[in-house]
Symmetry: C2
Amino acid sequence: MANGSESSPAVRRLASVTSPRFISGAGGAGFRQTVVSNAFSEYVENHLDAFAKDIIRLSAQRSVSARKEGVEECSILVEKMLKEVGAATRVLKLEGAPPLVYGEVKSKKGGKTILFYNHYDVQPEEPLELWKSPPFKPEVRDGVIYGRGVSDDKGELVSRLKIVESFLKADGDLPCNVKFCFEGEEETGSVHLGDYVEKYGELFKADAVVWEYGTVDAKGTPMVTLGVKGMIYVEFVVKSLSQDAHSSLAAVLPSAPWRLVRLLNSLKDENERVLVPGWYDGVTDLSEDELNVLQAMPFEGAEYLKTYGAEKLLGGMSDGLAKKALVQRPTGNIAGIWGGYTGPGPKTVLPKEVHAKLDFRLVPEQDPDDLLKKLRKHLDTNGFADVEMKLESMEPAARTSYKHPFAQAAMAAAEKTYGKKPIVEIGSPGTGPLYLFTRKYDMPSVDIGVSATDGGIHAPNENLKLENLRKGMIWIAETMEIFSAS
Amino acid sequence: MANGSESSPAVRRLASVTSPRFISGAGGAGFRQTVVSNAFSEYVENHLDAFAKDIIRLSAQRSVSARKEGVEECSILVEKMLKEVGAATRVLKLEGAPPLVYGEVKSKKGGKTILFYNHYDVQPEEPLELWKSPPFKPEVRDGVIYGRGVSDDKGELVSRLKIVESFLKADGDLPCNVKFCFEGEEETGSVHLGDYVEKYGELFKADAVVWEYGTVDAKGTPMVTLGVKGMIYVEFVVKSLSQDAHSSLAAVLPSAPWRLVRLLNSLKDENERVLVPGWYDGVTDLSEDELNVLQAMPFEGAEYLKTYGAEKLLGGMSDGLAKKALVQRPTGNIAGIWGGYTGPGPKTVLPKEVHAKLDFRLVPEQDPDDLLKKLRKHLDTNGFADVEMKLESMEPAARTSYKHPFAQAAMAAAEKTYGKKPIVEIGSPGTGPLYLFTRKYDMPSVDIGVSATDGGIHAPNENLKLENLRKGMIWIAETMEIFSAS
């Protein structure tokens, strides 16, 4: 899960267990009866320690993409592990990018194809002193694996391999064809993933994609996430002088910070509405059905306020409006702002330049290319033509309808596996490169997996519970079975 | 000269040589005839090397107030040097403050009293690698002393002592009584100077004060500065959350940066006018006479634009308006702003808090106590009652009329000494604790001295030209003579 992308862990953590009403009775009479074979379930249960060993084996290989540390070596190990479960592999390379490891395994009976997207790179392990065991010497304690990457995303990656192994060993075949797309720079923003998809065209085409990572919440309730917002991330650089001046000269020299204040003030009104002309063109309200799903999704505004020490939600909005805003409200956020003197005491300086980083979250109806042009035009026509706008990242939203058979399969499989209805997030407020697959190939996607909301991803003592591994593998396998049969 | 206070070196450096018309003929027929005795001039000339040795002696004693390094030891040496020229001394102490070394020498004929304010602490010497000789082993090369503090302010301080010595040795008496106020924390903001003045009341009372530091510009034209602007320096702290949030939550949680943008936007309009009600109460335009002096002051807006790489002056103002703004326009400057993520790349965070440091320069008609209350009230009535406003420093302006006999004396003395009319700065755009003396005792003040605008103060290779030392000493002595006779 990328730093600052995907759905916010907080959103997941804060969600509780009420389930959406539309999947009532999705399992019908066979509610607790699994579609996966007993042989499959038994194979998974009997080999859980071996799976854990492979997760440890892969996690022991450092692959910190932010430091380009061990990434190449890790890609070699990933390909080896793909081959071990019988996949045909290709290691794709682009200049300046870590290898993308591709694999596929065909079902004897043909049929649908599911693409598993995962990544083999990890976040840096710091702060080291907070780890109870070395981050790159993963170990199992009381049924839980600890180590960097054991959840995000090597545990998830290995679980996909082991699902294939389990199907082949237990049932002698897969319910559908399977493709693997394992990239090595997700934690640094998947910078080249678009280029890989562009260059290797049809290779990634499938009927559906299982995205990276999925969780159960603190109460063991599985969560199905069906999309992400898009994003435009820009940095504004306002330069008024070639060097800092003594602030007494503020009487006669232009000020970069004041210009930035005016620029920012022109971008949003007090009701948080983005003032760039055309920003909301085409944006629709959620449908009645979607609002019903939304209504069923648990959300406690009071929990947010407590967690973040805020007095009230933005603009005093109700919980109902907040849930809707998380899914369908475009945002404009100041992620960082800096310039001039930021130390202690009263240094008097007129700063030569000042910076602000802004992320604008987008809903599926918004086209980032179009909005970026509109944003630039807004600056130009409001007297800020000289202000530099550096594009840091840009991606459209992606959302799969909860009515799509693949989403329905994931939800039904969750209910079968966990004995309770899942929490359905019709759209995460976060962002990720999901669109690369879903838009290009018109594929549905779900976020489901073997992790937990308390898995410590990106933090010390990252962990994966073996019981969650077991259940998550069955959940995904069930989803494959149900979708393949649909 | 304090970091970020006093008149801006840039202002001085950029000034050229045209002289104000009002002192035309100030010297009359005796234009080049000095008032100081030939004996005085000869004594100074003959002892210049000895004076340099004392500047080196004092400068060799480290006294970096920012690091509390050698300050106490330096105060002992300062008192010793005061005694060597025959001054009665007192070392004043306040808890937590460096000693303030006080001295006085009475004239046999009584009459007026002049106070010399200087400081014996210096700026840190870094960056060391740029010094051509060790900063605390001062040396003379080609008639120039190099070392930390040789200009700012130990060279100036020693010159005051040596003026007294020269008068006593050459003439057997002083033209007036002399007091010395040598503080040890000017470079860290003169934090306790007000307390010293408060506690030791009448000790500093005089008829006029010679302030710290004075210069000739690159063309050898002396500059007379007659005051400073006041200042309110505050830091705004806007806190919306108890911890940073993932920026996807910007859809539902309040944003500290946007609140700061709105706060700042409420403070100033696009014409740079401070919008706090009552901010300009009582502020007057300059008098016609003052405007005449101002008109005579050289000012090249084009030079500013070149130096600072700006396209035009603030709001496209003319040179004439800019000169006036430097003296009499209250400012509101954003000296620093920071919050959230300020590193490379697109980190998506909703910052829990954000900070801005602002300095408001004030003209003599403005009362900082009053304005501080008005500023707080403005925040409270505009929905920012919860925003913390930390006062970093506050001081009123101080300005001596160019018509005052002491100012006229300094100007006439400059013309006699240098053979050309001085540049007169009726008010510096900078700020300093001048008001402590001028307001309390209703004293006039001038900035005159032995330094030069290219003396490298606060920088590596700080220097003092011996010829400037000689002429500057005569300039000050002339000023004493003329003022005493007035």
